[in-house]
Subunit: 298 residues, 2 copies
């Protein structure tokens, strides 16, 4: 199995803030694309570059050799793959499907099995790096699936990302992304409680940060999100509702595996409070606001 | 106020794994030192280099212009400063005392006030960087106290550390160190739960880490302690009992300030479990063992 710009037609489902850049990089490298999206207007830039529009995932799949998806929530993934007009209705035998949404490892395994029964190969390949990583083709791509399929997809992944790691069988990409999010849950609560403590103790938080960011407390969140909190900038960044989705998936998978993760569970609850206060579309640093509310200090 | 190797005699109380190096750096730069320690044998290397031994903190203080302390727990600091044969019994008017132990900000403020009543100036200056940082004079020093005193001490701190930041009035150094430890509590729970999830999900943890250490989950703990966990190396690193001490101080200060820190409280409880299972003198990565016990997977 080998993909080339002359023989391979790609399908792309989900042309949002991430997908439109990722698809565009493939098109820039010469691939012909067929696309669809819930909101057609968001696919217009790609159509302007020559992408063909189809109304349903089924039709996109029927026209493509490799179909990529990056949509919203697990229920969207389920609909796009297994629904009435889903990919698996239209995909031809021998086709490859690649879900790059962060979604449930169990769902990835279900899709893998359903696809296999139709001689379609499925790979899960969630990413980290956000919209900046998507735009700059600098994503980290965590891949689960059969070795041969992953190998064949490698040149395509390399167009979209900087770091590509095959993590194991179907679902392993998603599990790895969950590991990523679980660490972040920890760094977020640590960072926010530290800032809250420092503020309450009367420290100059910028000066405080200058003492701690270079040592054993060093973390990406402290470097990148603490400055936003200090500026009162809560509207930018990775949406709370997406992080809550991810933590929910991790906790549900942990439940299936009979695994208690008390830290993750607590952070998830505090983010539920951020949601309850209308913070769904704020950046994850809005956890600070829930902690302040909790302490009646807003 | 200015200190020089010709006019200034330093005192050093606490010649353990950190203190013996810090004192030695000052001696290497030409300062005459008077020392004491609970276990005399540990001060022998400094005496071999010319340090004078005294039996009590009071006697050390009486012989010194600047007295440094780095001992164990807050009760030790209290004893060393305010006890029967404590520093403040012996310190001469005009002397400067510098506590580099990680201890309670409130205690630092008490010492500051008690010292001031005897015309002695007190500074709190806890450090991060561990024994390696102490040996290589690469510590981060977080300083609380009066501006003039801190300024006068700066040349001495620069002999011991790489990064020196004056954080504010007495207690601010300790508060800053607490901020540091609160972040670490978060990175530790995030890292350990991530590894536990990954292991249970059947991932190859080294491969998993290769996907997540370069992005938004990046943190010192993941880089430095996750590899130890993978090797089953729990006996090295920052002692659990010292981290539990630090978290206890932070939680007690938070209580005084009417501040709820649910994440820190949870991590503290899990480390109490590590202690209950005999892990006091293990490295902080032993949190992984408590989480495994919790999940009955050891």
């Amino acid at each position: 199995m080998q993909f080339s710009t002359t023989d391979t037609r790609i399908g792309w489902i989900g042309t949002g803030v991430m997908g439109q850049w990722m698809c565009r990089h493939l098109m820039d490298h010469g691939f012909q694309a067929t696309v669809t999206n819930r909101t057609k207007a968001k696919a217009q830039p790609l159509m302007d570059l020559g992408a063909e529009w189809k109304e349903t995932p089924e039709e996109v799949a029927a026209a493509s050799d490799v179909i990529f998806t990056i949509v919203g929530f697990p229920k969207d993934v389920e609909e796009v793959y297994l629904g009435e007009s889903g990919i698996l209705k239209g995909a031809r035998p021998g086709a490859v499907v690649v879900d790059m949404t962060t979604t449930s490892p169990s769902l990835a395994q279900t899709i893998y099995k359903e696809a296999a029964s139709k001689d379609v190969r499925a790979v899960d390949a969630p990413v980290s790096g956000g919209d900046v990583g998507a735009r700059n083709a600098a994503l980290s791509i965590m891949v689960g699936g059969d070795k041969d399929t992953v190998k064949a997809l490698t040149p395509l992944f390399e167009i979209m990302g900087k770091q590509l790691v095959h993590q194991g069988p179907a679902g392993s990409g998603q599990h790895t992304k969950m590991c990523n999010q679980i660490v972040i849950a920890g760094t977020m609560i640590g960072m926010c409680e530290s800032l809250l403590y420092g503020e309450k103790a009367g420290l100059d938080l910028e000066v405080m940060l200058s003492s701690i960011t270079g040592g054993a407390a060093a973390c990406w969140s402290l470097d990148n999100l603490a400055p936003r909190i200090l500026k009162g900038e809560f509207d930018t960044g990775f949406f709370v509702e997406h992080f809550v989705k991810d933590m929910g998936i991790a906790l549900e998978e942990a439940r299936r595996m009979n695994l208690a993760l008390p830290g993750l569970a607590l952070v998830n609850q505090l983010y539920q409070a951020v949601m309850a206060h209308g913070g769904s579309r704020m950046g994850t640093q809005a956890l600070m606001r829930a902690l302040k509310q909790l302490n009646n200090a807003i």
